[in-house]
């Protein structure tokens, strides 16, 4: 496994972002009794069993009822609680969409919507359990911040900042261990992308668990072709960091976006919309899940199938850069 070698050599492997979420929740709850986890029979999937054991007064079990999960969380938030509604991203962002739209976003109740096992984390369980629509549907709702942290650092920061944010926020992540990306940069702010690698020849804007394969592609491009790539963890899909888009597009280099989401309405289309409307004509490509019945398999198999891998992203980059193989 060539890619694993890169990982061992260049990056320090961390935990699953899901585990970091769980630990951060426990740490916050120890100091703040208003931190409330609201679950839909999902405390196991959300790694919140220890949280529930330590802070039984701070967890509200709703059972398998996502609409009610979000509605109740809205009521808790309205009453001043820092309510984290935790449910698989696939159900949270679809089954409870009207509650998210009306009771959270429109009513401006600062619920923290936590989409666990997001994207194709539940790969082999099939389309019912995939969330490849969540960026798109939530982007179309006013008053919603959408976040997909790439690594453990970003996850912890996103959870902590969400707890203090007096606005609705949706955070989604998977359950596979993630390496630390650019640990020297300890800045994190919603709406500000994090540059995890720098280079002038190409820009890859990725989000969530696709930042890592994007970083791998950048490494391969440099090692094999001397191509220098800027890789951005665009952890906040909305509001989009348009200042960073301006900066990345300024020298005309090709731009690739990568996401664990259907091509329709996701990060790539959000970037394309901004770039096109602002006169940027950089060569541009979106790497995402196409509009088809999604193949099943593990998350990494599905990623590889659709080119969300070091090799797949490099192949696209070479085409955009018109590199001869």
């Amino acid at each position: 496994m060539e890619l694993d070698k890169i990982e061992e050599k260049e990056l320090i492997m961390g935990k699953a972002n899901l585990e970091v979420f769980s630990e951060t929740m426990q740490d916050m709850a120890a100091h703040d009794r208003d931190i409330i986890a609201v679950t839909s029979d999902s405390r196991g999937s959300g790694k919140l069993v220890p949280f529930g054991q330590k802070y039984p007064e701070q967890i509200v079990e709703i059972g398998i009822a996502e609409q009610n999960l979000v509605g109740v969380a809205a009521g808790l938030a309205s009453a001043g609680k820092k309510a984290f509604a935790v449910s698989p991203a696939c159900f949270l962002s679809a089954r409870a969409l009207e509650q998210i739209k009306n009771d959270v976003a429109y009513s401006d109740n600062p619920v923290k919507l936590i989409g666990i096992s997001a994207g194709v984390s539940y790969g082999a369980l099939g389309t019912t359990h995939h969330s490849l629509h969540d960026y798109a549907v939530l982007r179309a709702i006013n008053n919603m911040t959408i976040v997909a942290p790439a690594d453990n650092f970003e996850t912890e920061m996103a959870i902590r900042k969400a707890a203090e944010l007096d606005k609705p926020v949706y955070i989604r992540f998977g359950k596979k261990a993630m390496p630390f990306l650019n640990p020297e940069d300890q800045s994190f702010e919603f709406g500000k992308g994090r540059v995890v690698r720098r280079g002038d020849d190409l820009a890859i804007i990725a989000t969530g668990e696709t930042v890592y394969p994007s970083w791998q592609a950048a490494k391969l491009l440099e090692d094999e072709y001397g191509i220098k790539t800027t890789v951005v963890s665009m952890h906040t899909i909305k509001p989009l960091d348009t200042d960073l888009l301006e900066e990345l597009s300024a020298n005309g280099r090709p731009i690739i976006t990568v996401e664990e989401h259907m091509v329709n309405g996701g990060l790539g289309e959000a970037c394309a919309s901004y770039l096109l409307q602002n006169g940027k004509t950089n060569p541009f490509r979106i790497i995402a899940i196409p509009d088809e019945y999604t193949v099943t398999g593990s998350q990494v198999e599905i990623f590889n199938h659709y080119g969300i891998s070091g090799q797949g992203i490099m192949k696209n980059a070479k085409e955009l850069l018109k590199l001869e193989v």
């Binding site: 109740v72 808790l76 009306n102």
Partner: protein
């Protein structure tokens, strides 16, 4: 306010909501008339809410799940001094905050509602938070019978009983009609009492136009300790205007000038009999 004044208030609020529906040429007339006595009792006898300090964290909460009957809510709030009544002149007009459903932009409104089957879940969250914080305030919602077909209500009903939320009060405006016809023909909600009792609620049935019965049901604490309360208020859609009562087209019918005048005459006449 004496009991007689409270009865006269119901007439006044009926006239008021009809006036603004007539001016706006829009509104949910039948349901506003069926629920106005409930709102009158809530805001003038039951809820601890202060128009001058609405955001007091210890206030009672009232979230109107049947948001479409906003004219009843706005009229009651305006009359209680939450905003100048003249604001309602802009009801449903371009850029007015006084739109066809409750919004938090209006002083006195707890939540933006309008999609049906949302209020009870939010109230469960509010009631849970009050229990967590050891607060004594109560949480009320007003639901329509048609909206009971929304499954989310039953998710919320289950949760309210599971957490023994006896600070939670749901009031059902049981006028037994909805936009397409009678509940029993569109989607039978009966037997409502049995269903809620089976879900673990304590239930009381009252005449939803009898102010005394409403006040007694709403002001004496939970029907049963350790259970959320459902007050089934038997009402008449269009109540108070003879030609509107139980006539389906008045669900969101707007009176003509002649009909408006007739409605006012009837209500003035009713006031003389109190």
């Amino acid at each position: 306010m004496t009991d007689k004044e409270l009865q006269l208030k119901s007439i006044h609020l009926r006239k008021m909501l009809l006036k603004y529906i007539y001016k706006a040429k829009a509104g949910h007339t039948g349901g506003s008339l069926s629920s106005i006595d409930i709102l009158n009792v809530l805001y003038n006898r039951v809820l601890h809410v202060d128009p001058e300090n609405f955001k007091d964290p210890n206030r009672d909460r009232y979230i109107q799940s049947k948001g479409h009957c906003v004219e009843a809510l706005f009229s009651t709030l305006g009359d209680r001094g939450f905003f100048p009544e003249s604001d309602l002149e802009t009801l449903c007009q371009y850029q007015s905050h006084y739109i066809g459903h409750p919004t938090k932009k209006i002083n006195g409104v707890e939540q933006n509602t309008g999609g049906l089957g949302h209020g009870l879940s939010i109230c469960v969250g509010e009631a849970l938070a009050a229990k967590m914080d050891g607060k004594a305030h109560r949480v009320f919602t007003l639901m329509g019978d048609g909206e009971l077909a929304e499954g989310s209500n039953w998710e919320a009903a289950m949760t309210g009983a599971h957490y023994k939320l006896d600070n939670l009060y749901a009031i059902l405006d049981y006028n037994k009609q909805q936009i397409t016809g009678d509940n029993q023909d569109v989607m039978n909600t009966a037997p409502v009492r049995d269903k809620f009792e089976a879900f673990g609620w304590a239930v009381k049935e009252v005449d939803g136009h009898n102010l005394k019965e409403l006040e007694e049901a709403l002001n004496n604490g939970p029907i049963q300790e350790g259970k959320p309360s459902l007050i089934i208020a038997h009402t008449i859609k269009g109540k108070g205007v003879s030609y509107m009562e139980r006539v389906l087209k008045w669900h969101h019918g707007v009176p003509t000038p002649e009909q408006f005048e007739l409605a006012n005459m009837e209500l003035d006449e009713a006031a003389t009999l109190i």
